[in-house]
């Protein structure tokens, strides 16, 4: 069995082992045994995703070429890790609170959930990561060819095929374990576990080779150090600008690389893990880089000139006949490459699907998120396709650029590109004034300069950028030369690009941020991000005015899956205390829902989806509304109280008036009773007296007899009249009267009344003025009763008018729907306080002329009510004025 076949067998076994580890970890996680799956140790080891094949092979190569410069790549992340207290803690808290799914999501979320920024960062990440994936494929094929060289060599065709199958395998692994659950916030337990195992493998492999080199080859620590001093390394000399620049660059990259961000922030399960990682990961980095120089020195020593220093880790043990060690070393490199590709693919696919594919997909759909179709399936599909796409992109890059550059330089180019995100990221975390426009300007400027000065030239002179531009500058302008912007030549190309891109990036970011004004959402998010430790976690409020819980439920089911969505809704319904499974779409619930959705499809997409259903109101008015509601309720209540109290006082007034009236009536009644008893008693007395005289006197002359008899008769008549009146009133009042309706003119009725009432028993003549022409109105009514009313009024005028020459004016007026007859005398009228009494029974205005029983007007009013009209006392300028109103239909009906 050839070495190559053995190698393939080992590779396949190792990959199967990784599958098993990931599968077992996922199973354990499903069973809830997460305690040790999520330990600080696993978290720390998973951070080693930073150390790729580039680190594993390239560091030695870099050391062999550039001396100690390789150390900067580890010093930067170490500095970041020991800044955990003020930097990473905040970053992770933000990530957890806002449910950040990727670095693009972080930037987008901070700057008002801008889809544009998210897409921009995603594109940047894809461009920056693709060469990196190619790098991993290249390192694996290179290491294969090292073993192959021992037997029969590896053809270029085989290399390509190897790279292809490797990338397919990695894509499969990533799809299998990276997209098991849609919720990107949920840890990929299997993947993380596999990475942790790989971290151990690569550390052990490198340490083994290092120990072998130091103690096995060099013969001890001090000898190894002597050997270093004796070698080409000799004295300390590094490019100073590169030393500082690369420390900065690697620190920036550690924060901004999609894969490190994924494990550092997204996969973080417990903030306290950071405390361990803060020292444990620097320790890991320290150990990884510890033996790099000794290996490089020994490699330079024993390997023939012209051999690739990037492969010393592999070739040195092989050259010394340590095949087992070489195999271990190969596995270390293989682990580094695979874990990088897997995590990078997960991170990038999340970004691509959330920020590019899903927004476009949602845009293309006519009615947005709540039409039929399974968004969940679409998201999963998008993510899986993205994974395959990203890995294939790396493969294509590998094929196109096959084997040209030294490994390390591609890595640094990618670092520099992704570092462009740093100003927007740190600015967003620590500066509330950073705006979306600023971030956009900074990213664009930095990205453009990086592209022009570093990325495009990295394909090789004359490949993409024509020679003319590199020699003479863009448009022939000297100061636009890609390697000497503004005429400053002589800088190292990487440092040149880093300097200018970061400078323009920061200046544009800060400058534009200073002059632009952020949207309310941005300002809210800025406050949330910058003051993350002072605020409770609340992204941004929704007003749920028009949101329909059912629609939200439908949408959430499509994205989260039915079970999870129902559980979420039930939980919130319980918390809200609502019956049933649907919670009210309060701002709190909408926020929580959006966060949940956000971890599946990204903040901007989730925002858009909830926005589509809720009607897109981004300002929280709910609380204000509640306050306003309460205020309005209180106002309404007090208004009602006021109304009630007014009504009460009105009622009280009415009652008081009624009481006064009753009291007056009572007094009147008492007076009347005494009066009527007097009235009844007087005629009775005279009737009794005269009848006794008639009975007891024997010889009475006929004259006296006749006189006494007529007195008795008169008195009896008076009594009868009184009793008639009383009877009449009671009959009319009880409605027992039968109206004798017939036709006649008003004039006839008045004539009758005047002739019977104008001249009293005492012979006083009342002068009456009438207008006969106006009285010619045909009536259809009970004329006798009407005449009775008129008689009463005329008789009253005759009796009570206190003028020297009493006069009564009878005026008849006609308007649209009634006939009005006024009876106005020229006396002194009725005293105002007596006005409301005169129509009452037994009411008499004065005792001066005790003519009647005080029933006349009461009868009149009752009669007129029966006839459908009315009789009232109308205050007039002088004298008493009674007004009789007849409804016109009575009149019309007769015409």
């Amino acid at each position: 069995m050839s070495t190559l076949n053995l190698l393939v067998a080992v590779c396949i076994t190792y990959v199967l082992f990784l599958f098993f580890v990931a599968f077992a970890a996922d199973r354990l996680a499903l069973q809830g045994k997460k305690a040790w799956l999520r330990s600080p140790l696993i978290y720390t080891l998973s951070l080693s995703i930073y150390c790729t094949a580039w680190t594993f092979y390239g560091a030695v190569g870099s050391a062999a070429r550039n001396g100690f410069e390789y150390l900067t790549i580890y010093l930067g992340p170490t500095l970041v890790m020991i800044s955990w207290w003020w930097l990473l803690r905040k970053l992770i808290r933000i990530g957890r609170t806002q449910k950040i799914t990727s670095i693009a999501d972080l930037i987008s979320s901070r700057y008002g959930k801008s889809s544009l920024l998210a897409a921009g960062v995603t594109i940047l990440a894809v461009i920056g990561t693709t060469p990196y994936i190619a790098l991993q494929l290249q390192s694996v094929t290179l290491s294969f060819s090292v073993f192959a060289a021992q037997s029969d060599g590896l053809a270029a065709q085989d290399q390509a095929q190897l790279a292809f199958w490797l990338s397919m395998g990695l894509a499969l692994f990533t799809v299998l374990f990276g997209t098991r659950n849609l919720d990107a916030k949920e840890r990929h337990d299997g993947v993380v576990m596999a990475i942790a195992v790989e971290a151990v493998v690569k550390l052990i492999a490198l340490l083994s080779v290092g120990i072998f080199v130091v103690w096995g080859v060099s013969g001890g620590l001090s000898e190894a150090l002597n050997r270093i001093d004796a070698s080409e390394f000799g004295e300390w000399h590094t490019d100073r600008s590169r030393w500082a620049g690369l420390i900065f660059l690697s620190a920036a990259a550690f924060l901004c690389l999609p894969r490190t961000f994924q494990v550092l922030v997204v996969e973080n399960d417990d903030e306290s893990h950071l405390r361990t990682a803060s020292w444990a990961f620097p320790l890991y980095l320290c150990l990884i880089s510890l033996f790099v120089v000794p290996i490089a020195v020994v490699g330079l020593d024993i390997m023939p000139d012209g051999s690739n220093p990037d492969l010393f880790v592999l070739t040195v043990p092989l050259a010394l006949g340590e095949n087992g060690l070489a195999m271990l070393s190969f596995l270390g490199g293989f682990s580094s490459a695979t874990s990088m590709v897997i995590v990078a693919a997960i991170a990038l696919s999340t970004m691509v699907s959330n920020h590019i594919v899903m927004p476009i997909w949602l845009q293309l759909r006519p009615r947005g998120a709540s039409v039929s179709g399974d968004v969940r399936a679409a998201v999963l599909l998008a993510r899986r396709l993205s994974i395959v796409g990203v890995v294939m992109l790396g493969y294509l890059y590998f094929r196109l650029s096959s084997g040209g550059e030294a490994l390390a330089s591609i890595g640094l180019v990618a670092f520099c590109g992704l570092a462009q995100v740093l100003p927007a990221m740190l600015g967003g975390m620590f500066w509330r004034g950073a705006t979306r426009m600023g971030a956009f300007a900074g990213l664009t400027a930095g990205f453009a300069i990086w592209l022009y000065t570093l990325y495009l030239p990295s394909f090789g002179v004359g490949t993409i950028l024509p020679m003319a531009i590199i020699d003479n500058g863009l448009f022939g302008l000297e100061w636009l030369k890609p390697n000497a912007l503004f005429g400053i030549a002589g800088l190292d190309q990487l440092m040149h690009a880093l300097l200018w891109s970061m400078l323009f990036n920061v200046v544009a970011f800060a400058g534009v941020s200073l002059i632009t004004f952020p949207s309310p959402l941005e300002r809210l998010q800025a406050a949330q991000f910058v003051n993350i430790f002072e605020r409770s976690a609340n992204a941004r409020s929704w007003s749920g005015g028009t949101a329909q819980a059912e629609e939200l439920m439908v949408m959430a089911q499509r994205i989260l899956g039915a079970g999870e969505a129902q559980a979420l809704f039930q939980r919130h319904a319980r918390r809200q205390g609502t019956r049933g499974d649907l919670p009210a779409p309060t701002p709190d619930f909408l926020e929580a829902l959006e966060r949940e959705l956000g971890s599946s499809v990204g903040a901007a997409t989730a925002h858009a989806m909830v926005g589509q259903i809720t009607g897109g109101m981004a300002i929280s008015v709910e609380d204000l509304m509640a306050v306003a509601d309460e205020t309005a309720q209180m106002l309404e209540y007090s208004a009602r109280l006021k109304e009630q109290s007014e009504e009460l006082s009105r009622t009280a007034l009415e009652l008081r008036n009624a009481n006064q009236k009753l009291t007056r009536l009572s007094i009147q009644k008492d007076a009347f009773l005494s009066q009527i008893s007097h009235e009844l008693r007087t005629p009775m007395t005279s009737i009794r007296a005269f009848s006794e005289i008639l009975r007891d006197t024997d010889q009475m002359n006929p004259e006296d007899q006749s006189r006494y008899a007529s007195i008795i008769h008169d008195e009896a008549q008076r009594l009868t009249r009184l009793l008639d009146d009383l009877l009449d009133l009671s009959v009319v009042e009880n409605g027992q009267v039968n109206l004798n309706l017939r036709e006649g003119t008003l004039r006839d009725a008045l004539d009758r009344a005047v002739s019977s009432a104008a001249i009293g028993e005492d012979g006083v003549q009342l002068k009456i003025e009438r207008d006969a022409a106006k009285e010619e109105i045909l009536l259809h009514t009970d004329l006798d009763r009407l005449s009775q009313v008129f008689i009463n009024l005329i008789a009253n005028a005759r009796k009570y008018c206190d003028a020297k020459a009493p006069k009564l004016v009878i005026r008849v007026m006609q308007d649209a729907d009634r006939v009005v007859i006024d009876f106005q005398d020229n006396g002194s009228g009725i005293a105002p306080d007596a006005v409301d009494m005169i129509f009452e029974k037994f009411a008499r205005v004065s005792d001066q002329k005790a003519g009647g029983a005080g029933l006349g007007l009461a009868i009149c009013r009752q009669v007129m009510t029966r006839l459908g009209g009315s009789v009232d006392y109308v205050p007039a300028s002088r004298g008493a004025n009674f007004r009789v109103v007849l409804p016109y239909r009575t009149a019309l009906a007769a015409q």
Binding site: L71, T78, W86, L225, D229, W236, W243, S272
Partner: protein, 93 residues
């Protein structure tokens, strides 16, 4: 939640001794990266040629000793910061 006494700018001027210590530990944790950066920037000012130039072995030992020291320091500080009352871990669920 941050305790009132832990928050800068809170009305309390003097803290009890424990709180005071804790705050200084936090300061130390913030300053550590600066210290590390300075120590690692020092190689930039080493003479690179001629007399007094630093041998590679010495440089290597220096850098790794600084590294080890920083790791120890961070470890110690992280131990001390372990029982700092942490702000509400997850108010969402």
């Amino acid at each position: 939640m941050t305790r009132a006494t832990d928050r800068p700018g809170s009305p309390t001027v003097f803290h009890e001794r424990r709180t005071y210590r804790k705050r200084r530990v936090m300061d130390a944790a913030r300053v550590t990266p600066v210290l590390a950066l300075i120590l690692w920037i020092i190689p930039m000012i080493w003479p690179q040629e001629g007399d007094g130039s630093v041998s590679s072995a010495t440089a290597l030992i220096y850098i790794f000793f600084v590294w080890a020291g920083i790791i120890l320091l961070t470890w110690g500080l992280s131990r001390l910061l372990a029982d700092v009352p942490d702000e509400s871990s997850d108010s969402e669920t």
